[in-house]
């Protein structure tokens, strides 16, 4: 990591907003200038994006409730009459 106008620590501090696309444009530009000459930060940005993508990708399907868990839940809540199979 190297020293520039925006240092590595400042870049890391803004990383969530940067990868979520919620960072203001001038700061984005500073980050991109930093990334152009800092391979380690580039790896961190790329692998952080991939990390978030992987968690999204592996939980994209609707959350599954196992049938026995569902049946016991409905019983505890006295909702047996509303159990649809």
């Amino acid at each position: 990591m190297n020293n520039q106008r925006l240092n590595c620590q400042e870049l890391i501090g803004n990383l969530s907003d940067y990868v979520d696309g919620t960072l203001d444009e001038s700061l984005c530009q500073e980050i991109e200038e930093h990334l152009a000459s800092c391979p380690n930060c580039r790896v961190v940005v790329d692998t952080l994006r991939k990390t978030i993508y992987l968690y999204h990708e592996t939980t994209r399907q609707p959350a599954d409730l196992p049938s026995p868990v569902r049946e016991r839940l409905y019983r505890v809540l006295n909702l047996e009459n509303y159990l649809q199979h």
């Binding site: 590595c8 620590q9 890391i12 501090g13 990383l15 969530s16 907003d17 380690n40 790896v43 961190v44 790329d46 692998t47 952080l48 991939k50 990390t51 978030i52 992987l54 968690y55 999204h56 990708e57 592996t58 939980t59 609707p62 959350a63 599954d64 409730l65 868990v69 569902r70 016991r72 839940l73 409905y74 505890v76 809540l77 006295n78 909702l79 009459n81 509303y82």
Partner: protein, 202 residues
Amino acid sequence: MDNNAPSISVEALRQGNRQEFARLVEAYSGPLYRLALKMLGDPQDAEDALQNTFLKALQNINSFEGRSSISTWLYRVAANEALMMLRKKKPEVDLGDTENDDENGETYMPIEFTDWCCLPEEELVSAESRRVLDEAIRRLPEKLRVVFLLRDIEGLSIQETGEALGLSETAVKTRLLRARLRLRDLLSVYYAERLQKVAEAE
């Protein structure tokens, strides 16, 4: 959050309408169970937390003031339930520990710098990788874990996550960044090994 979730009438819930309560349970039991399972790591504990969440929601529906959506409120009840169960199991853990971290403003600095993005998709989402992804979440401190789960797994906004946990948006952002960076480090250790194995096999 599930954008296809049905609209629930809070008024009907307050009046004790069982059908409306059943609709609420049907819509949110899946996501709330997933949250509890990923928070607690144990199916029996997750089931207990799920049941308690709906029992408490039903008991306390009159205290729901409508400042947040019903789903955010349910996530709040569920997150409190899971955190309380963790506290009971491990009373020695100081759940306030990240409170100071939020204030001192110290940034968590990454320690792993392997670029594993080029791994093939079947490696990245293999059954083993999925177990590593889950295990990494469980290794996060509770207060970071709950923020990550609400924001990045359940898809609540920063504002909704703050409402669900009684945190400012700044605190949510700080914890989310820390959680993501820690997960990235944890995954980097595993995927760097996979990268080496793939290279050796070629």
